[in-house]
Symmetry: C2
Subunit: 203 residues, 2 copies
């Protein structure tokens, strides 16, 4: 006697959900059971939102951020934005920076970072387009906002070398102690950077 | 100047994914970006699997486990299964028990458990159907496999009282120390149960 499993269509859904990032088999099981217990309309809405997102979202033709049009929301407002390009690794970074309201310029999304281990070289990142934009859009400053991982640092160093000859201001976002975190929990390298980057306290 | 957000269809997908159990906003973001980066065929397959699972999976008319037919895989094989019903809270429990191969009988899925706090009373669980099955299917034993939480125990006690008059063997799955777990990490109540339920070691 063979043991019973999940019905075919349910197992298929569990398998598909398990392929998503951050989803383990137990989460996939719970999600799938939630879906089959939800209303038909809810399930349909879920399915439609997947297809619609996949069909309608593309990369912006200028900065490679996400968009439903040829140009993204930021690039469509290029005229009222500062002539400063913030270079980030992933689209999530754009959202995180936009939420601060501290950068009122443009973006350039690399969709990755230099990583010899993962086989990602300069030719895999949209760097030619970045150089072209700096020239075409009369950019005044490049803010390098790649991550503070080893790969992010490698990418920052490479970008700095690549862009040095263009005679443009190049900055790197500061490293330091995150707000609300006790120094005792922070690694040595970050503390060192925080001390090196210390600023005078205004009276 | 308003700050840029995600394109509408992407935000919609993130919102829908966030509604799933175990999924926080950051996971939903990563999943949504994974979906829009996948091939059209993959995205279509994902959407289809949601609709197909929702449209085709129902509860078994006898035991309330999941099925694509009127009767589930277990109940369709009723004739070659033992006349023993294992009562569980959720469909996942059926799969977990089937995987052991230790129970070759039938199931009864409550889709919940008695919980005064959550407002789940006996009338919310398919208990009449269970009593009817015991009579109709000449069942020899009921194994109560509700969870060892307070609600699971309450449900087990209630079931025992409900079925006592039917003159049928009623058992409760054993509680004890899970395999591979150091006793030092186990709560007192479980250790007590494990001592009470100790068995003589065969020579």
């Amino acid at each position: 006697m063979s043991t019973a499993g999940y019905p075919k269509f349910l197992q298929k859904l569990i398998d598909v959900l398990s392929d998503l990032p951050t989803i383990g088999p137990k989460s996939a099981e719970r999600m799938a059971l939630f879906i089959i217990k939800s209303t038909r309309q809810k399930a349909k809405e879920f399915a439609d939102s997947i297809v619609q997102a996949r069909e309608n979202i593309r990369r912006c033709g200028t900065c490679f951020y996400l968009s439903e049009q040829e140009l993204c929301e930021v690039c469509r407002n290029r005229d009222i934005r500062d002539k400063v390009i913030c270079v980030v690794e992933y689209p999530q970074d754009v959202i995180a920076i936009e939420r601060t309201g501290r950068h009122k310029g443009l973006y350039h999304v690399l969709w990755g970072r230099l990583s010899p281990l993962e086989g990602t070289g300069p030719e895999d990142l949209p760097l030619k387009k970045l150089v072209q934009r700096i020239k075409d859009e009369s950019i005044q400053e490049i803010i390098i906002a790649t991550s503070s991982s080893r790969e992010g640092e490698t990418t920052a160093v490479y970008l700095n070398q690549l862009l040095a000859s263009l005679g443009i201001k190049i900055t790197r976002i500061a490293r330091g102690i995150p707000i609300g975190i006790n120094i005792g929990y922070i690694d040595q390298a970050t503390i060192s950077e925080a001390i090196i980057g210390r600023r005078e306290v205004s009276a």
